[in-house]
Amino acid sequence: MILDRLIPARVAGIDSLGPTLKRFRFEPESGRFPTAAPGAHILVTLRGPERVWKNAYSLVTPPDQRDGYAIIVRRVRDSRGGSHFLHDHLRPGDRVEIGPPASLFPIASLARRHILIGGGIGLTPFLSYVPVLRARGAAFELHQYCTDEETGIFRELLAEAGAGVTVHGETSRRSFTEVLTDQPLGTHVYTCGPAGMMEAVEAAARDLGWPEAAIHKESFGGAEGGRPFRVTLARSGRTLDVPETQSLLEALETAGIEAPCLCRGGACGVCLTGVVDGEIEHRDHVLTEEERAGGRLMATCVSRARSDVLVLDL
């Protein structure tokens, strides 16, 4: 079930995990949060002085924990501002609104064995997988790839994850092919991290003959900025500008338009919107090659314009 009501919550605490990593803990204003699924994310609405962000973050708390949620966020240099706001302005006690958890990255129930491959902060969905896999007695390995500086941070986050965990720094790390070679039938691989890394994991698995159904990617963090462009809404005749650091979806929301969305990372397809005119730069993981070439649909959360103007069927 997808609930669409926002849940009022407060910042219960902020833990600094490293120079650019913080854990934010939220508690509900009243009652309890909904039960999440492993790999679920929440949309956090952040109200800054000048703009509002709705950003998706994976829950790092166990799925059945309902008295509090936690997320871990990296402060990224060229972000659209959400992570800066979280890191620099959010304080314990501040109020936030949280969307109900949704999972687009479930554990495959038929899998016999699970290989989880995280890259950097892409570890976060797996932090909610691990307690579930352990409770099920499932066979799993978790491989976390990160910089040498951060191996300590991630080892600590994974201290209770059990024996199947390996944290790979930059030196002497095992290749994805080594990790995936010689796995028994029924093994599934899950990966979350930078796009290039996820593609490399997928390529290694394919190369070893793994079927598509056994390869799972979490495709978050796709909403990068880009060239500014102008949007005309065909039905209302309104025009708005999408600046460099804002996504089209955010620009629509800023203009007070209730645009549909769920993952905000180009993975779910809920935000797909008709395009009447203009050239699209597709960045989603939903549309087929044919649909892309057709140029009549776009994911507003991540995709942008190649032309100066886009005309949307809105």
């Binding site: 038929l110 064995r113 995936l180 028994p184 039938l185 029924g186 003959g209 793994w210 079927p211 159904a213």
Partner: protein, 189 residues
């Protein structure tokens, strides 16, 4: 009587090599050989020749060719083989429907998913029929009505096929009016 309009029956397509696989194993309930569309690359081939054919067939020559004395022996060997297999294998099975789904069941028990197993019906259309009353499996049924080897009931052979049991469903035909058993027709040669 033959088409009972049951839409859940499996349908089968000609076997083609799945190029995304790294190792390929062809299983045939008969003597083979593997279709050409499978053979453009390394292929293991397991076939069955009954004991009566001994001495009349050439010996398997190619690498990865094995011949079994019964499909039962082939299936038992398959289970042991899959227990040690690794990701990247594709299975292709050809034969009567009960053999195909026995293969599929063994494959599933060892972790292979739907996209890693390919099935093609060939040979006899005779059915394995499970009596819904006493659960006995009746092998090689070619008629629309069969007397259950377990409980003696006269079973109507439905088109309802269980992939899990690799069997069609047989239901007592004269339950309403005992003794009212129509003439059986030979329908599944």
């Amino acid at each position: 009587m033959i088409d009972q309009g049951i839409k859940s029956r499996p349908t089968y397509e000609a076997l083609r090599r799945d190029p995304t696989g790294r190792r390929h194993l062809y299983l045939c309930a008969g003597e083979g050989p593997a279709p050409d569309a499978l053979s453009d690359g390394p292929l293991e081939s397991w076939t069955v020749a009954p004991a009566a054919a001994e001495g009349t067939l050439r010996r398997p020559q190619g690498e990865g060719e094995r011949r079994f004395r019964s499909s039962r022996q082939l299936l038992d060997t398959l289970g042991r083989r899959l227990a040690g297999e690794r990701m990247g294998l594709r299975l292709y099975a050809e034969g009567p429907e009960d053999f195909l789904w026995d293969v599929f069941g063994i494959a599933q028990d060892h972790g292979l998913g739907r996209s890693e197993v390919f099935l093609k019906q060939s040979g006899t259309l005779a059915r394995r029929v499970q009596c819904v009353h006493c659960k006995t499996f009746n092998e090689g049924v070619t008629t629309t009505i069969v007397r259950c080897a377990g409980c003696g009931a006269n079973l109507f052979v439905r088109d309802h096929f269980s992939r899990r049991l690799s069997a069609f469903q047989g239901v007592k035909i004269d339950a309403e009016q005992p003794g009212d058993v129509p003439q059986a027709e030979r329908a599944y040669p």
